[in-house]
């Protein structure tokens, strides 16, 4: 086998060409890592919101809280269904909720639909992982609100002690909550009855969250609710509900794959070009190595190693840039706003994670192998006497 320093030495010897090819691969890696990072962050935000032992109850046919309405009698009855979990004071872990989607004014002067969820205090126990990180929970009938971490500072009045203006009222922000990066962090929560009164909704609740008791099959309870002839309701585990919401992210994956393929092909041409030129410039060298006794396979591998080295260096530079840029975007913008399928805004923090980098690595190595293979094959197939002939 030819020594590694032969392959690497040749890359260093042809610096400009090497730098240009590495640059192209690095740009492809940067673009794909960032885009993939954005899509996975969006999916993470939506998917991590759900928990398997919490049921979402909506009107039959509704796909989200915003387009649903659940009658008051149903809410009252469902709280006491067998299989609904209870807290330490034997209160059912049921959270009737009203969702409206008013416009909030952003600090930059734009307008965005934000999901405002009217809840009762029990909501903090039914929704898992909600932590109030500043201030306190709102008190009912006092025009108070708590806001998710992503809402804070993004909109006019969205800070502790300030007043948010939406609907027909002003709401004083008394607390800020986190929920492990889920989409709930893009919501504003107020008292359900106050919100119903403010939005003049004839039916006060759009949906109901129920925590399923340990030992009860969530699907069985969901079926019982769906089959109850008194109301036309559907129930499903929260995980399933948010999976459906996350389907909107799937189209971005398709775009990401398309983008990866197209830019990858471009970079492959670049790498191929570099290596064809290298083979042409090194014909006599290849002839000499073949004359000395190196096999075609040794020549093939050596050129493939050159190509893979180009790809790896491109990947390293591109991925460092992607991770850095991801942090910079999050630091400067605080996140990227996405329209969810409910038409409300989800603020997604751009994170380039191991999965995104692994996908970029696979892409970069594919570019290296595809770009290097044909030039390497040409080098390996050169007959020694033809390669040694000058001119």
């Amino acid at each position: 086998m030819l020594p590694l320093r032969y392959a690497l030495g040749n890359l260093i010897a042809r610096r400009t060409r090497t730098a240009l090819t590495v640059g192209v691969i690095a740009l492809v890696v940067l673009a794909i890592s960032l885009f993939s990072g954005l899509v996975s962050s969006l999916r993470h935000t939506l998917v991590s919101t759900g928990s398997a032992d919490t049921l979402v109850v909506l009107r039959k046919g509704s796909t989200n809280d915003g387009s649903s309405a659940v009658p008051l009698e149903a809410v009252k009855a469902l709280r006491y269904f067998e299989g609904v979990a209870r807290d330490s004071s034997d209160q059912p872990l049921a959270s009737p909720e009203l969702v409206v989607q008013p416009f909030f004014r952003t600090r930059q002067g734009g307008r965005e639909n934000v999901l405002v969820r009217g809840v009762e205090p029990m909501a903090l126990q039914v929704h898992r992982g909600i932590t109030i990180v500043a201030g306190r929970m709102f008190e009912a009938s006092r025009g108070e609100a708590i806001i998710g971490k992503s809402v804070a500072d993004r909109y006019v009045g969205a800070e502790l002690g300030s007043e948010l203006v939406f609907g027909r009222s002003k709401w004083k922000v008394v607390g800020i909550f986190e929920s492990g990066g889920s989409s709930l962090e893009s919501e504003t929560w107020v008292d359900a009855r106050e919100l119903a009164a403010d939005s003049k909704r004839p039916v006060p609740y759009s949906g109901l969250r129920l925590r399923v008791a340990a030992g009860t099959d969530p699907d069985a309870l969901a079926r019982r609710i769906g089959d109850d002839p008194r109301w036309a309701l559907d129930a499903m585990p929260e995980t399933e509900y948010y999976d459906k919401q996350a389907e909107s992210a799937s189209i971005f994956y398709v775009i990401a794959i398309g983008l990866a393929v197209l830019t990858g092909i471009g970079a492959t041409f670049g790498a191929t070009n570099t290596l064809y030129a290298a083979v042409q410039a090194r014909r006599a060298e290849i002839g000499t190595l073949r004359a000395i006794g190196f096999s075609r396979f040794s020549i093939l591998t050596s050129f493939l190693i050159e190509s893979l080295a180009l790809a790896l260096v491109g990947f390293l530079i591109g991925s460092v840039l992607a991770v850095g840029l991801g942090h910079l975007v999050s630091f400067l913008l605080g996140g990227i706003a996405f329209g969810a399928s409910t038409f409300t805004t989800n603020v997604v923090e751009l994170r380039v994670g191991p999965f995104d980098l692994a996908a970029s690595l696979v892409l970069a190595l594919s570019v290296g192998i595809a770009g290097g293979f044909f030039p390497a094959l040409r080098a390996a197939r050169l007959r020694p006497i033809e390669a040694l002939r000058r001119g």
Binding site: M1, L2, P3, R5, Y6, G9, N10, I12, A13, A284, E285, G287, T288, L289, R290, A291, I292, G293, F294, S295, R296, P384, I385, L388, R390
Partner: protein
């Protein structure tokens, strides 16, 4: 050592067929320094390539170091060259990104020798050609004569029986050319190598044992050189 019987080789150039070798029969004994001479296109390089296992005849027998070359596959020929033949080229053909030692070590990478022994042997070969102290220099830091010496060190490092040299003095000034011819002579005399050299250089006559002249692919009667 080298036996060619009735060897012919024809090349196609466009629609024309060019007969590079025409029923050539030739024996070269072990330990001789042989020059192949003749005008351009006379077939001397083709003859050298066939002896070295780089090219195959269309017909005839070629036995080198006891092996019938025309029967071998490409990979077998590569292995044959690695074991039995050292190469010296007109333009030295050193690998620019490797040092003198790195270049000389190349043929040893095809053996099972360990790193330390490869290094030791490469330095020994460089010592034989008088360039041990230049071992860590790259080819672009060496003169033409020095580069050709490194190439000779590379040709002998794996101790092959045969060294083939294609116009080894063609790109050198008079002083260096004579030094290279003396070095090749020493390979025969001191190390028992069989050296086959294609050359136009009239100075070669003073160093070789036998001169074979070719013209239009036909071998003339061997001419005993001045020193034989």
């Amino acid at each position: 050592m080298i036996e060619l019987r009735d060897v012919s080789r024809t090349y196609k150039r466009g629609a024309d067929a060019i007969r590079a070798l025409d029923h050539v029969t030739l024996d070269i004994d072990s330990g001789r320094f042989v020059a192949l001479m003749g005008p351009s296109g006379s077939g001397k390089s083709t003859l050298l390539n066939i002896v070295a296992g780089l090219d195959r005849p269309d017909s005839g027998e070629v036995v080198v170091a006891g092996q019938k070359l025309p029967d071998m596959s490409e990979d077998e020929l590569a292995a044959f060259r690695a074991r039995h033949v050292g190469f010296v080229f007109q333009f030295f053909n050193l690998i620019p990104v490797l040092t003198a030692r790195g270049n000389v070590e190349l043929p040893l990478l095809l053996t099972h020798l360990g790193k330390a022994e490869r290094r030791e042997r490469a330095l020994t070969a460089l010592r034989i050609v008088g360039l041990e102290e230049r071992a860590e220099h790259h080819p672009n830091e060496l003169s033409g004569g020095e580069q050709q010496r490194v190439a000779i060190a590379r040709a002998i490092v794996s101790d092959p029986e045969i060294v083939v040299a294609d116009e080894p003095t063609g790109d050198l000034d008079a002083k260096n050319a004579v030094e290279i011819l003396e070095l090749l002579r020493a390979l025969c005399t001191d190390f028992g190598k069989t050296v086959v050299m294609v050359t136009h250089d009239a100075r070669a006559e003073a160093h070789v044992d036998i001169i074979h002249s070719l013209d239009k692919g036909v071998l003339a009667d061997p001419e005993m050189a001045a020193r034989a």
